[in-house]
Symmetry: C2
Subunit: 460 residues, 2 copies
């Protein structure tokens, strides 16, 4: 617990009104999308980088834990104050788009800017910021950088890290640093921006982000391939990509998801449908769109797709995307509690991964509907259980552990997008050697020797 002396000192820094210790605030900042709760001792709202620096310096000298927080929409507990201390809430004041420069094609933003707000602002200028996590309507760019958020467009356009040119950040000792430059190329000094990305707020507090933008492609079309089974669809994924297709998205839904979409939401899908691939292709000329769609159609049909739909207009495109957007809500029909994981494997291992997951689910007598970003090998596995059935919940978690083991065997990763946080921390030893974990600890120590930043995360 932080004593009154510390609260007073923090109020000296950010102002009386921006240090909150009342119960409603502590509760409001105690949770994230994991639905776990840990109350902080205080919530602090810094107005700018200088205040962040002073807060960190004070907390570092007094060994007070600090958890930086954007929207609190993370799935692995990255924003949870598991050891108490301070939540440093960046969404209240540090939420400005500072600059959109059409000449350099960059955006400069504060960490609390909402992803979708940035998208809209740059698109109004004919530019394009590709990373589009499912949380984009509420998640912040600071959080996106801290977790290296992906999204549906990652199949063609990559991840948040591919767009970060430069960061400003505050180290636990209060030092304000700039990492990287507003230049396409920069090889002066260590790639500090590279290691801050996906560091889950454990190394520094990011205060400003310079992002690379692209010209917005002029045209887009939406496609859907309907397969009888998952194996056909997964083979079609890597066959079409290796064949030269570069779809913006290639999203996957399995038989359980298809069933839920049909039965729960009345989506128009054939009885025999056992797997779907949907996505967009984009380009600047019609012929490029056709080139892409031809490769997809040919590869999909060669692997057994019985239907290949191309949306003729926006309405049909929305219908196709309606299925994908409702994959997650629809599967709640299989259980009141969802244990969701976002594993990622090399694309050629997708059929093996999916079949393995279903075998594990069968072994533990649970259902595991899967959907996700097949174009980049990233699958959201949802182990659905009856939350009131203790035995089923236990079996669910056992299945998840076995799924992680399978993924590591297939040269995959524990997390494609969501990070480690606390949810996947117990599995770090499956994925990393003791030597690798020791290196992580030494890196952590180089930035944060007192361990004040987001303690208890990433299994370190």
């Amino acid at each position: 617990m932080i004593d009154a002396k510390h609260i007073d000192a923090l109020k000296q820094i950010v102002g009386e009104e921006d240090v909150k210790i009342d119960k409603p605030h502590l509760r409001a900042y105690s949770y994230d999308a994991t639905k776990e709760h840990y109350e902080p001792d205080a919530v602090v709202f810094p107005a700018n980088e200088e205040e962040v620096s002073k807060v960190l310096k004070y907390c570092n000298e007094n060994k007070i834990a600090i958890v930086p927080r954007g929207a609190g929409s993370g799935f692995t507990g990255g924003a949870l104050p598991v050891n108490g201390g301070i939540v440093l809430a960046l969404e209240k004041y540090m939420n400005k788009i500072l600059e959109i420069d059409e000449k350099d094609m960059v955006a400069v933003v504060q960490p609390g800017v909402i992803n979708a707000d940035l998208q809209k602002a740059v698109e109004a200028k004919g530019l394009f910021y590709p990373p589009d996590p499912a949380s984009m309507d509420y998640s912040t760019i600071g959080g996106n950088v801290s977790e290296n958020a992906g999204g549906m467009r990652a199949a063609k356009y990559g991840l948040t890290k591919d767009y970060v040119m430069s960061l400003k950040a505050v180290l636990p000792n209060g030092d304000i640093i700039r990492a990287g430059k507003r230049t396409i190329k920069d090889v002066a000094g260590y790639n500090v921006a590279g290691i801050l990305i996906a560091s889950e707020g454990t190394l520094a507090v990011i205060t400003e982000i310079t992002l690379k933008l692209l010209p917005k492609p002029k045209l887009k079309k939406t496609y859907m391939g309907i397969f009888e089974n998952v194996e056909q669809a997964m083979n079609a994924v890597y066959k079409s990509l290796a064949g030269g297709a570069m779809p913006v998205a290639m999203e996957f839904m399995d038989a359980l998801v298809v069933k839920a979409l049909r039965e729960k939401l009345g989506v128009n899908l054939p009885e025999w449908a056992g797997a779907l691939l949907v996505g967009d292709v984009d380009g600047n000329v019609d012929e490029e769109i056709d080139y892409q769609l031809n490769i997809l159609e040919k590869s999909f049909k060669e692997e057994g797709a019985k239907e290949f739909r191309i949306a003729a207009n926006d309405e049909e495109a929305n219908e196709i995307w309606y299925a994908r957007r409702n994959a997650s809500p629809s599967i709640t029909m299989y259980g009141s509690k969802k244990i969701n994981e976002d594993i990622s494997v090399p694309r050629s291992k997708l059929p093996e991964a999916l079949n393995g997951i279903y075998a594990i689910a069968e072994k533990y007598n649970v259902l595991a509907p899967c959907f996700g970003h097949a174009g980049d090998g990233n699958i959201h596995v949802n182990v659905m259980v009856d939350g009131s059935n203790e035995d089923e919940v236990r079996r669910g978690y056992e299945a998840v552990e076995e799924i992680f083991k399978l993924v590591v065997e297939l040269d995959g990763t524990l997390s494609g997008e969501h990070g480690i946080g606390i949810s996947k921390a117990p599995f770090m030893k499956l994925a990393f050697t003791e030597e690798e974990l020791n290196l992580f600890r030494r890196i952590k120590n180089a930035f944060d020797p007192n361990g004040i930043l987001n303690p208890g995360k990433m299994g370190l």
Copy 2:
């Protein structure tokens, strides 16, 4: 100096024949493209990762300096054993392409593989590895990763770092680690691969590299814009890119280079030509190529280009590229000694940067022909002096220092591609604060507490 005991111990590890202390070997491994010379005490040729691990462990325990080396083609002294010790030469044995996987679209290589050899091997399978440093015919992938090599195609396709999925590496203590995964997405643990890229061999010895590949575009066309002056050309760069063009390359040559090409090599260019932009556009369909070329032609002409050439066939394309490829050899007519720098600025600052460079050259009474990768803001500045004229050489170096100051003021970087090494180490304090340099030192210490790996580099 390493004593005989250490030489014997190293021979125990890698074999009698693969530790060299004879004068010809020490001389052969004493230089790189900077033309500076520092002889090592021994050259060691490890056959595999295990031997690298044992050599590092031994040297770490005995505080012997180790300089990892690929082809020694770097421009900033990264491979020079400035403190003596061992050169760890990776090109002799660790030079295999281990795998090219068409399903996952990845290549797995050892560090000593030559860039151009990898290009050829993947293109034979319809795949594409974009990074193409000018040194690609002899530089190694390990060196490319260690310096984050760029190249002409960076304007569209990015840098080496954009293609590194995973690294294996040996830490100074002998620990063998894997950083990153063979998956498009991976957010488990710190991004160690991110910090090893561009670390110039100061943190770990890279022993295996997994690279992302793309489908090879089907079509390519070459263009050239001819301008009366540099300002027009630089304005055309950012205008065309902001206008939606994504050329594979957009290479720049200034008036002095044009003059040298015409007078020394007889290249067919108009008398009035004061600046050139040349490059390729690529795509899968003719209409996309035309779309790109139309934007370029329109933007170039709006900014004052008097000629816009499109190569009708391979022969004409080769003629255009002949000019760019011979930019560097041609300018030797301006002086026997070349002090070359590869600054990088935000694209919108290109006109200001170029004009500033010429003003500085005039002030110090030297010539500074410039060419380079204008599409990404990366300019190779060549201060040409008479190497036998001590005063002129001194003025040349003074001009370079002032150019660096200008670049930092313009939010640019000391190095776009070549790294810091020893050549730019004196300028690190211009570009980084003491707090930032201290962070670099702590990162170095986290990997290499005894400071055995490539000591004396990067100004740390």
